[in-house]
């Protein structure tokens, strides 16, 4: 009899645990802002994945005849750019670039930043002091100035954008992680883990990291949005990925010379950037609201 009760209780807690995880995600789906964000991001991710199989022109193919009237037509739904390349195709292939580079950059920056923040917060003392002071120095730079100086000197490429993003955002991520760890360090389960003589690495990865997860996911979402803006800005400044890679910021830059005549060429890639960044920002907001403790 008592065994049965015990089994029931165990089943109940199991249901509760999976139920809670499901509820956490379900709450996101009930938030309209998160849904809109999910839709915007999903739209571009889908477009980027399907780009090679969609019936599109090549993003680098020039249609010289279309240059006579580069506005939208039956052949080119969104028109062509100043070199006669199909605008729609360049927008969709541009999404591929940005959706690879931005999450990749943020992932690397998160790994570096979380590691530094964990170490600083967990060990404290002089290790914390060194990491925090170094972060302060980098954070004292206006971010874009840092990007411009770095990229102008090491040259624009995907790897270099990842490096620049890591240098620019790891200190901020580290600072957030450190703050979270300082709060969690005094919890009883950490003391318990220490008493069990768990290694520092175990405590950091198994006890601390999962408890920082929510805030860090929200932060990553915001940072992806911000990195997309930065990649756009670098492209706009002429420091973006080398041509003929379609790159939204570069597309805006190329077409601003003809803004007076064909504003659509600049407006479309601008809308593309805004919609994708808005998607990530709304998603971050929805996640934060849904996961509020």
């Amino acid at each position: 009899m008592s065994a049965l009760v015990e089994q029931r209780a165990m089943e109940a807690t199991a249901v509760k645990a999976t139920g809670r995880a499901r509820l956490k995600w379900a709450r996101i789906l009930r938030s309209p802002t998160a849904l809109v964000g999910l839709f915007l991001v999903g739209f571009w991710v889908l477009a980027a994945i399907l780009a090679p199989v969609l019936p599109l022109y090549s993003p680098t193919e020039q249609d010289v005849m279309a240059l006579a009237d580069p506005t939208p037509s039956a052949a080119h739904w969104l028109g062509v750019d100043i070199l006669g390349r199909d605008e729609l195709s360049r927008l969709i292939f541009g999404a591929r670039t940005v959706l690879v580079v931005a999450p990749l950059s943020v992932a690397v920056a998160m790994i570096v930043g979380i590691t530094l923040g964990m170490i600083a917060g967990y060990y404290g003392g002089w290790i914390d002091a060194v990491i925090s002071r170094l972060s302060d120095i980098i954070l004292a730079f206006p971010v874009l100035v840092l990007y411009v100086i770095l990229i102008a000197n090491i040259g624009p490429s995907i790897i270099n954008i990842v490096i620049a993003t890591t240098i620019a955002s790891a200190p901020g991520i580290g600072r957030i992680t450190r703050g979270l760890v300082l709060g969690l360090k005094e919890q009883e389960y950490i003391a318990a883990a220490r008493l069990r003589a768990e290694s520092a690495l175990y405590i950091m990865l198994v006890e601390l990291l999962p408890n920082c997860r929510g805030m860090l996911i929200v932060d990553a979402c915001l940072r992806i949005g911000y990195t997309i803006i930065t990649i756009g800005i670098l492209g706009f400044l002429g420091l973006g990925l080398p041509p003929p890679n379609p790159d939204w910021g570069g597309m805006v830059k190329e077409s601003t010379t003809v803004l007076n005549v064909w504003p659509l060429m600049s407006v479309l890639p601008s809308i593309a950037i805004v919609s994708l960044v808005l998607g990530f920002n709304l998603l971050a907001d929805g996640l934060r609201e849904a996961w509020k403790p």
Partner: protein, 337 residues
């Protein structure tokens, strides 16, 4: 208090030294490039080698950084102004004085002749933007923070998030399309002279608008979070239970407390605006500091990059310092500790 200030000042100085060294290391990664940049692309390799030797530009990085710092502090004369280099670079202030940022290879002028004027133009732009960002974000932040999750909160939050998602070059394109091309009421470039037939104030409208659009939403969100925190405090509940009207509670109790944390955020926006002006100035051809820095970075004009970095970092650490001091003065709990 005095110890706190002294400690912070020392830290500020250290940050500036470290930042200037980092920038120097990145820019001067390839030794000898100074000579090539000073002489231009058509100089022969012999001329470049001669100047490199003359300037001792192939010394180790640390030595060259020390020399740059020496020139800045007025301990040694600027080697580029030495007549024997044949460059004919002349600074009316002399070759050796405190605050000598050296010679700009991009503008062929002393950095001090260019940078302060540009900084002044940018200060006008950023200052006007700041004057609009502060009241706008405070109103938005407080209204949405009054009742967390309410209809007004959700509405204002979505507006703020949307605006922060529009980078400066995109809002520049949108605004120019609307107000310069489709409905021509404003100029699309801001060279700050009246030759184009537009008054200087009208030239400032769009650049300031671009800066405000991108930044105010973020600050409003920060103020909202702070306001929500205050509205949950017991003293607010007490005031409401005492029978005070919502207006009295907000103005008398909540506002001052809600403004303590955002004060720092607002000050840090000065730092953020320096980033923002780079793009805005490029979009509107505004003769400011941001564009100078961009041009210098693209050209590799190290003297100008260093000067600009040092000034931006100085502004950043100073605003941080003022933020901390203000924080102490605004919040008696921290002041007494």
């Amino acid at each position: 208090m005095a110890i706190f200030v002294a400690k912070r000042l020392a830290m500020m100085l250290l940050t500036m030294v470290a930042a200037s060294f980092l920038v120097f290391a990145v820019c001067e990664f390839t030794p000898g490039s100074v000579a090539r940049k000073s002489l231009g692309p058509f100089a022969t390799q012999e001329q470049v080698d001669f100047l490199t030797k003359k300037l001792r530009a192939d010394d180790p990085l640390l030595v060259r950084y020390g020399r740059w710092a020496g020139v800045l502090l007025g301990i040694i004369p600027d080697p580029l102004q030495d007549p024997s280099t044949g460059l004919n670079f002349k600074d009316p202030r002399g070759a050796q004085y405190f605050g000598n940022f050296g010679y700009s290879t991009l503008n062929k002028l002393p950095v001090n002749d260019v940078i302060w004027n540009r900084l002044g133009n940018t200060a006008i732009l950023a200052g006007l933007a700041f004057l609009l960002i502060v009241p706008l974000s405070i109103v938005f932040g407080i209204l949405s923070g009054l009742k967390e999750g309410g209809v007004l909160d959700r509405l204002l939050s979505v507006i703020c998030i949307t605006f922060t998602s529009i980078p400066e070059f995109a809002s520049g394109v949108f605004l120019v399309t609307l107000f310069v091309i489709l409905w021509p009421v404003l100029p699309g470039t801001s060279p700050l002279d009246t030759e184009g037939g537009w008054s200087v104030p009208s030239q400032l409208v769009l650049p300031v608008a671009v800066l405000v659009i991108y930044d105010f939403g973020y600050v409003a969100r920060m103020i909202r979070v702070s306001m929500i925190g205050v509205m949950e405090k017991p003293f607010i509940r007490t005031a409401v239970l005492k029978g005070m009207s919502t207006r009295q509670v907000v103005i008398g109790h909540a506002l001052r407390n809600a403004m303590i944390a955002p004060f720092t955020v607002l000050l840090l926006q000065i730092n953020f605006l320096i980033s923002g002006v780079v793009v805005t100035e490029l979009v509107f051809a505004y003769p400011g500091f941001g564009r100078l820095l961009l041009d210098a970075s693209l050209f590799g004009d190290i003297a100008t990059i260093e000067a600009a970095t040092l000034i931006t970092v100085a502004i950043a650490v100073t605003t941080q310092f003022v933020g901390d001091l203000g924080y102490m003065l605004l919040d008696p709990r921290i002041r007494l500790r």
